[in-house]
């Protein structure tokens, strides 16, 4: 029996649990913001249909949010159970960032989620709207802090290393607003809004095709397309800027993403290849000359460093970053096309009758999730062999836990997440199938009924 490697198993476990987790925030960041817009439209226009759409998607939001919470709690402990040396040496830096996430975001979300879900008839309308806003704000603030922590691990700044190897902060501003942070934050938040807009548009298209809840479906499709048409192209620009930033601060990652072995000017754009790290070359390469330099440096003869210019023990394995990046960009291009074609059909009055387009949209609409995962695989695998880039190696960050324990926990997580994810997906599909309730089940009241209060209950034993 081969020896169980706690490092490899911990990496697989963290990749598995964080990949599972990121799907839900990617969805709920966008949904929370959209629910605020729907509620605002309802309050402003008084049209019940906005409230019906909002109530329907609130249920889907609640299931996703619940799964996001439980899978997120796991991560806040895995930093210690599996990466205790990262915690010991980097705790001074990443600990406060994660604590601020709890204090400014998690409590805000959790504190107002109850009112958002259960408070429709218990608080005045504006308080409910305020609660929805706070939940949406919480999702974005959460992204701010966790991406600050992740970006710091990618492009560390504002710290010094003490003699015992422990990192100390010298400048908090530099820690939080480290070189890659603004780009990563913009890229991830845009990705979350896009993922949600794509799904919403797809489900709207599905209702229209099924000729059920058609007015609701048109709102979903219209609002989804309105986001896609400008945000998907903008995301391409943000991604490009993010790439330029990575080339400056993490050149080895870019070399891996592009599968470039040699440092060269007029570097080609490799469309397809099978990178072979052992032989330090690519097989079956299909490339466009000079385009790689143009994209990455915005100059025809810009220089791109190749993997061979890094010592072998400081190179990421290019296979995953190379393919994941191409999947991500491909999906981005599909989103841009869907947004443009859909908007064109809409403007020319043919959107609802173009069944071919609606069918395609239904099928491609979940791709945002794949793009988010692919993007994170680029970012995280591309950072290897470092946990804190250039400072702390992944191999030195792992906990003193035997491989057997990690294997057992990994199997447990796969089993439990499989059941939970399967069930969650099933219940979300059920909610989607059922569609919006067109007559709200409870009468609307402007003011909460003040008799249902603890003090009132205390008076009547």
């Amino acid at each position: 029996m081969p020896e169980l490697d706690p490092l490899l198993l911990s990496r697989i476990q963290f990749a598995f649990t964080i990949s599972f987790h990121i799907l839900f925030p990617s969805f709920t960041i966008g949904l929370a913001a959209w629910l605020v817009v729907l509620e605002a439209l309802w309050l402003r226009t008084g049209k019940a249909i906005y409230r019906e759409v909002a109530l329907h998607w609130t249920k889907i939001f609640a299931v996703s949010f619940g799964m996001g919470v439980v899978s997120g709690v796991v991560l806040s402990y895995e930093f210690g159970t599996n990466w205790s040396e990262l915690s010991r040496r980097g705790g001074n830096v990443i600990g406060p960032l994660m604590s601020y996430e709890v204090l400014t975001a998690f409590f805000l979300e959790a504190g107002f989620l109850g009112i958002m879900l259960f408070g429709w008839n218990r608080v005045p309308k504006w308080v409910h709207f305020f609660a929805s806003c706070m939940v949406a704000l919480g999702t974005v603030v959460s992204a701010f802090w966790i991406l600050a922590a992740n970006s710091w691990m990618q492009t560390p700044a504002g710290f010094r290393v003490a003699e015992d190897g422990v990192l100390h902060v010298t400048d908090w501003w530099q820690v939080i607003f480290n070189p890659s942070f603004p780009y990563r934050l913009a890229h991830m938040v845009a990705a979350a809004y896009l993922t949600t807009a794509f799904i919403v548009a797809g489900i709207g298209a599905w209702y229209i095709l099924r000729e059920r809840s058609v007015p609701h479906g048109r709102i979903m499709l219209g609002m989804g397309l309105s986001m896609l048409v400008w945000l998907a192209p903008l995301q391409l620009v943000i991604g490009d800027l993010h790439g330029l930033n990575a080339r400056e601060h993490q050149p080895a990652k870019i070399a891996a993403v592009e599968a470039h072995w040699e440092t060269q000017r007029r570097a080609p754009l490799i469309l397809f290849a099978l990178p072979d790290p052992a032989a330090e070359k690519n097989d079956f390469e299909i490339a466009i000359p000079a385009l790689g330099s143009l994209i990455l440096t915005h100059e025809w003869d810009g220089e791109i460093r190749g993997l061979k210019s890094f010592p072998p023990d400081e190179r990421p394995n290019p296979i995953i970053p190379f393919f994941a990046f191409r999947i991500m960009v491909g999906i981005g291009l599909i989103m841009i096309a869907a947004g443009l074609i859909g908007s064109f059909l809409w403007l020319t009055g043919r959107l609802y009758s173009s069944r071919w387009f609606l069918h395609v949209l239904v099928w491609v609409s979940p791709l945002g999730f794949v793009a988010v995962l692919a993007g994170w695989f680029v970012a995280e695998v591309g950072r290897q062999p470092w946990t804190v880039y250039g400072i702390l190696r992944t191999a030195d960050a792992v906990s003193p836990v035997p491989g057997g324990s990690v294997l057992a926990s990994l199997i447990l997580f796969v089993l439990v997440y499989g059941i939970v994810f399967g069930a969650g997906l099933y219940y979300i599909a059920k909610l989607v199938k059922r569609g919006p309730d067109e007559t709200p089940p409870v009468p609307q009241r402007d003011e909460a009924d003040l008799s249902h209060r603890p003090m009132a209950a205390a008076g009547n034993p």
Binding site: V73, S99, E109, G114, R122
Partner: protein, 344 residues
């Protein structure tokens, strides 16, 4: 100026770890209280008289469980931030119970959403809710016991075995904390449930109180024998007098709680159960202070750099009261949210 600055640099590393130990102690306590009634309810869940009662039990915590659990996340994140050495030693040492606790929390957490959406598979989520709650509660008790017993540490790293946490003492603390959670949850139900379910909760509360009282005695007698320092702290004559209010008040609370149950009071049973938790918690703090990784590492040795602790304090001081404020507001407006509100 330089005098003040150097005084500050000497003063901060002493005072900041104390402040953060206090904040974390409060955080863990709030989790034990809020997560406690919440988990206890899950443990009682399968024993409830009817399915209607189970609906009511779950609906009574559905708006709050996420907020309750956030205190646990703050406990983990805060420990990493304020005492990274403690976090990096204890979490690998407690690898198995922590993972099992997390699995339990996942199963019970998703049950809140899934149960109300399922028909045929409702039994499955009932099971996930109760077994998940039971597992999480037991593992938290095990973690508490293992924490009190202490950890093997070499060169600032955990150097013990994977099963060091599994001892007779931690088995006792697991059942003790579980019974405490059940007592809290009966207090919660007595406040919130309708008459029939309330009467059942009174009945369970008597049993839970007897079990809790017995475990407090066992726990109090056993703990001093784990470390001579703990025994010395409680049993030197001067300290015995000074600390005697803790056991005396504990005994008084048990008695008062019994009487409150006899009188069928609505709110005092929960409050007295909380008082019991406060007293036990205080007793534990007296035993362990100032160690954060018993038996050797103090809060000052494990503390994060002063600039990190200070940076967090700037946020924690204004934010914690705001958080407590809106959490209280949420409890107030959703206090008697019916089982089937607009959302389900």
């Amino acid at each position: 100026m330089t005098g003040t600055a150097s005084q500050m640099t000497e003063f901060l590393p002493v005072i900041l770890p104390l402040v953060w130990a206090a904040i974390l102690a409060l955080t863990v306590f709030l989790y034990v209280l809020l997560g406690g009634y919440d988990l206890g309810l899950g443990v009682l869940f399968p024993l409830a008289p009817s399915d209607k009662d189970r609906d009511a039990m779950m609906a009574s915590v559905a708006p709050f469980w996420d907020g309750n659990e956030t205190w646990l996340v703050l406990g983990g994140g805060g420990l990493l931030a304020a005492f990274p050495l403690a976090y990096s030693i204890m979490l690998p040492a407690l690898y198995i119970p922590i993972i099992l606790m997390l699995i339990g929390l996942i199963l019970r957490g998703v049950a809140f959403e899934f149960r109300f959406k399922s028909e045929r598979s409702r039994w499955l989520w009932d099971l996930a809710f109760s077994l998940g709650s039971l597992l999480a509660a037991l593992m938290q008790g095990v973690i508490m016991g293992a924490f009190i017993e202490g950890f093997a540490v070499t060169d600032n790293k955990f150097s013990g075995g994977s099963f060091d946490w599994l001892t007779p003492f931690s088995a006792v603390t697991a059942v003790a904390l579980l019974s405490g959670y059940v007592l809290l949850s009966t207090g919660w139900l007595i406040m919130k449930a309708d008459e029939a379910l309330r009467e059942w909760a009174y009945g369970v509360a008597y049993t839970a109180l007897i079990v809790v009282a017995a475990f407090i005695v066992i726990f109090s007698l056993w703990t001093p024998f784990l470390h001579p320092e703990i025994a010395a702290r409680w049993f030197t004559p001067a300290n015995m007098v000074m600390l005697s209010p803790v056991p005396l008040a504990t005994a008084a609370s048990v008695g008062a709680l019994w009487m409150a149950l006899n009188r069928r009071q609505r709110y005092t049973p929960f409050l007295l159960a909380v008082a019991l938790f406060i007293l036990c918690y205080t007793g534990l703090a007296v035993s362990l202070f100032p160690y954060i990784v018993p038996p050797d590492i103090t809060i000052w040795q494990a503390a994060a750099a002063p600039e990190s602790q200070l940076f967090m304090l700037y946020g924690a001081i204004p934010l914690l009261p705001v958080i407590l404020g809106y959490t209280a507001y949420s409890y107030y407006v959703l206090w008697d949210a019916p089982e089937h509100d607009a959302y389900h």
